[in-house]
Symmetry: C3
Subunit: 436 residues, 3 copies
Amino acid sequence: MENPSLRTGMEADPAAGERMHRFIADAFGFCRSITGDGVRDTLRLVEQTIPLTQVEVPTGTEVLDWTVPQEWALRDAFVIAPDGRRLFDVAESNLHLVGYSTPFRGVVDLEELKAHLHSLPDHPDLVPYRTSYYSPTWGFCATQRDVDALEPGEYEVVVDTELFDGSLTYGELVLPGDDEREVLVTTHTCHPSLANDNLSGIAVAAEVARALAAVPHRFTYRFLFIPGTIGAITWLATHREVVDRVHCGLVLTGLGDAGGFTYKRSRRGDTVIDRAAELVVERDAGGRMLDWYPYGYDERQFCSPGFDLAVGRLTRAVHGEFPEYHTSADDLSFVDQAQLTHSATTVLRLLGAVDGDDTFRNLTPYGEPRLGARGLYRGTGGAIDRRSYEMAVLWVLSLSDGHHDLMAIAEASELEMGAVVEAADQLMGAGLLARV
Amino acid sequence: MENPSLRTGMEADPAAGERMHRFIADAFGFCRSITGDGVRDTLRLVEQTIPLTQVEVPTGTEVLDWTVPQEWALRDAFVIAPDGRRLFDVAESNLHLVGYSTPFRGVVDLEELKAHLHSLPDHPDLVPYRTSYYSPTWGFCATQRDVDALEPGEYEVVVDTELFDGSLTYGELVLPGDDEREVLVTTHTCHPSLANDNLSGIAVAAEVARALAAVPHRFTYRFLFIPGTIGAITWLATHREVVDRVHCGLVLTGLGDAGGFTYKRSRRGDTVIDRAAELVVERDAGGRMLDWYPYGYDERQFCSPGFDLAVGRLTRAVHGEFPEYHTSADDLSFVDQAQLTHSATTVLRLLGAVDGDDTFRNLTPYGEPRLGARGLYRGTGGAIDRRSYEMAVLWVLSLSDGHHDLMAIAEASELEMGAVVEAADQLMGAGLLARV
Amino acid sequence: MENPSLRTGMEADPAAGERMHRFIADAFGFCRSITGDGVRDTLRLVEQTIPLTQVEVPTGTEVLDWTVPQEWALRDAFVIAPDGRRLFDVAESNLHLVGYSTPFRGVVDLEELKAHLHSLPDHPDLVPYRTSYYSPTWGFCATQRDVDALEPGEYEVVVDTELFDGSLTYGELVLPGDDEREVLVTTHTCHPSLANDNLSGIAVAAEVARALAAVPHRFTYRFLFIPGTIGAITWLATHREVVDRVHCGLVLTGLGDAGGFTYKRSRRGDTVIDRAAELVVERDAGGRMLDWYPYGYDERQFCSPGFDLAVGRLTRAVHGEFPEYHTSADDLSFVDQAQLTHSATTVLRLLGAVDGDDTFRNLTPYGEPRLGARGLYRGTGGAIDRRSYEMAVLWVLSLSDGHHDLMAIAEASELEMGAVVEAADQLMGAGLLARV
């Protein structure tokens, strides 16, 4: 195939890596949380790559078992030490303040201050990322080294935040296809200055959307940029009619680090997206496969047993398995441009396998048809080599009995899904196959 | 859980090991066979631990394809050598006489005597255990060393036994539960002075019964102390209505030696007891799993294709795989008190997994319910650690779709069955689960 | 069993090896192709071992998607070099001419000649085997060394062949059994001077047919000696009513080399012949198993999705995996008499497992029946040892529930299929089993 085609395997735009890395750098300092202007500013930056609809859901809206919380705004937060030094200043890093800290101004002694400090004894130079969405309190995050150096005395604490009836914000882009069934691509937007988790996911999702918008595709693709947990719950609660037409989906996060891919299966474990991942992530890209488990990211909500959607998750390093996870070490140096590009390509191939999959019936099933006479041994001159193509033709004819889909054929034949899809296209053209 | 609970995992009584070892020592000298006073005396000794019903089934009773045989009584048996020494005296060890030997008194030469002697050329210092229930004959068992030392000459043989119309004896204890479905625990009582095979099985079964009698349990538990083969056949033939309500069962034998556990699957191979053993014996206790094969102990009868009960077998060393098997080396030194206790604990955990297993439906299946608001993230302060408990809560919610039972959840989550059962109990208490 | 029996496991005739090797030597020089006298002469030589029906199908007959081609006759073919030497003479080896070369006489320069030459740069001393059935052209095959030594100049080319309306020839032998369902044994006859591929297959098929004709068998066996691809397609097109009663089948080729066995599964992968091969080829003979793939030999046609027959393939070395494949090195020295004999024995055991397979119901399924009383512990004094026999009796009783066939019992028990079949025969004789 001479033009890039989602069905037969496309690659990310060569310029995508630089675009993604710049986005991450630009958005790094925004104070994202599950609500607020940090999210809105981030979505506006995403709009430099793709158009988005920003949706606002008011505080107090009932969503499934939950309620949309108050909006949180951070103006300033720091501590003044007895010697006058300014500590844990959010102007330096927004990780210093526990997310959703309630407003506080006052003077506390060292003991009381320490009851509000979070640090990592095992990683004494890293600042942890902490939130307290549903237990009203305030707190600061600091390196263990800084905590240990605190002298007794009076500390002035300033937590200039506000909780108010506002809204929860998310971004959405729908790319309609011939088929109204939808493929979801979702990524969480609620983490502050953490580069891999999850500015990398946002960047890759945007770049994939940009590529998809430019090529034909069968299914309808819906990209969601949502706050974790409450955002997924809010979207699910407010889109029950879309849920019914979800074909499959993918949660994206942590796609810029140096590690290999890790795909986590949907709850059902053998859905179309899981099977595509077996081909594209595990077999072709050497990635690791994890069975479903009920913690992690927003797949928890999409795969809750009532919805039970065919939603898997693609990451590189996995939450909790690397020391930089949810700390100040997940900074710009932790994400790599080439890894981001490879991630975007892999997501495109994964979606391509889903988009190209179909089930056919061989119309000349008694003995092999004469392929030479129909020009089907010519090869194609494209990206897929001649031998793979001829093998793919034989495999598609052999297994197209109305029961094996093209992914099953790619699996049995050990051929790339793109070669199999292309062979099926040519056999359809020659009148040898019918779609089931 | 503060009180011991079968459902969430209980341990054998710390005093059980000593009690079991003393029982084995006390019963070791009794002349057990498939009938007779040796069995009756053994059952009476078991009654020091648990109450038993002793059942007598008359000689001649037709049982399935078999007939209850005549009762056998041994008064005395020995051989007088040409030099006047008394050899192979049952007063020394009841292994010396072939079980069910027919009465005989007479003088024979060495050649004729040897035709009636059994020994083990490969283990010249061990006396084998032999029986001849259905071919009427007499015989003695001896060490190869003693057989080789016999001089030519006249030997006086005394086999003072009796075969008469009496009965076959077995012991039974039923512990009724809320559910009339029964869990069988059976062990054979027909082996004479062999400690591991099977005084250890009798001891462990009795101790498990004692523990179960003291705690709530869902199913009805029936403990059977029966002669091998003919005893199982007799019980099956006379309890067809009980057979119909057998939920599952376990044959216990050889549980005192130093080896690890070996679980043999039921004929169907994937029954509730097999699945419980995969969790408790294989995964948690590092035991070995064997697929069904049609020889061994009384599982042969319980799993014959007409009954096809969900009956597995738990042993440590396996019949025929260790040199002490069915020889004089299976003596008191071969069984260990700590191993017996560990066996009793493992049987209790195996039965606990069966007792606690159930299938639920998540009543808030759309998205995750707010657990913190319901106090379900508090942990429990019990034997099960907080993290396991919280994971268990998430797993039970995720997989309780009416199809996965708690054993399936324990398997998928790699959590202990007790943690999963406890999480389900708490979720039921919070109104988040319904029993299917 | 004292007489050889297909059901319980028979061996090839001790004289078979010599007979097969002589056949291969005698037939080696014939110029076989997909049509013509070389095939007819080969079939006549097969008739020294077994009777055959030679069938002629006229040129132009429509067969499925194909047409029976013109018959091809070779009278002479060679090249005269500028120095007068005669090169690539078919009198030396019929591999020198591309099969189905069109007639040509003329003088060509070296460049033009080379466009018609085929050689193997990686194996410079081997002559390749090439055909051009459906693209009319002529060509010669030579060693790379000879090609490289050609001097510029004028070459006289003689291709004295003829293509004419004649027929396609195949041989067939049907051995009727009690059951009209048929087991196919097929082998291709279209390769010229290649010993392993496929004179070995023809020899083994003939020897197996000879052995089968001499013993009772349940199924009807049909042996096909057919040209590759077009022959299979022709037979399938003209025997649709036989196809409907095919129980299973086996494609034989490449059975004389020094390698171990390779069995290729039918398209369905779990048919009766595949299961027999798991026992006989993989487990008992240590052979390798390949899953279905849609290239290779005539299994391509028998397993095309419309027919989808239970046809597997047995070879030793696999096409394309050894350097001698389709070259002049596949000569008489490449096939071994003992390997041929072992191949014939293995095919007989494979067919025997199919022939002996059946499903029974235990008529005394409640508990074990008394076997001693019925003389079923006597052993048999035959080839199968007593312990295997007794185990087989227990296994057959245990698993004969109407669902497990004897092959499943052989698999579960790890016993030879012959021992299991014999146990079932004896249990039938004792009235303990009924055929389902």
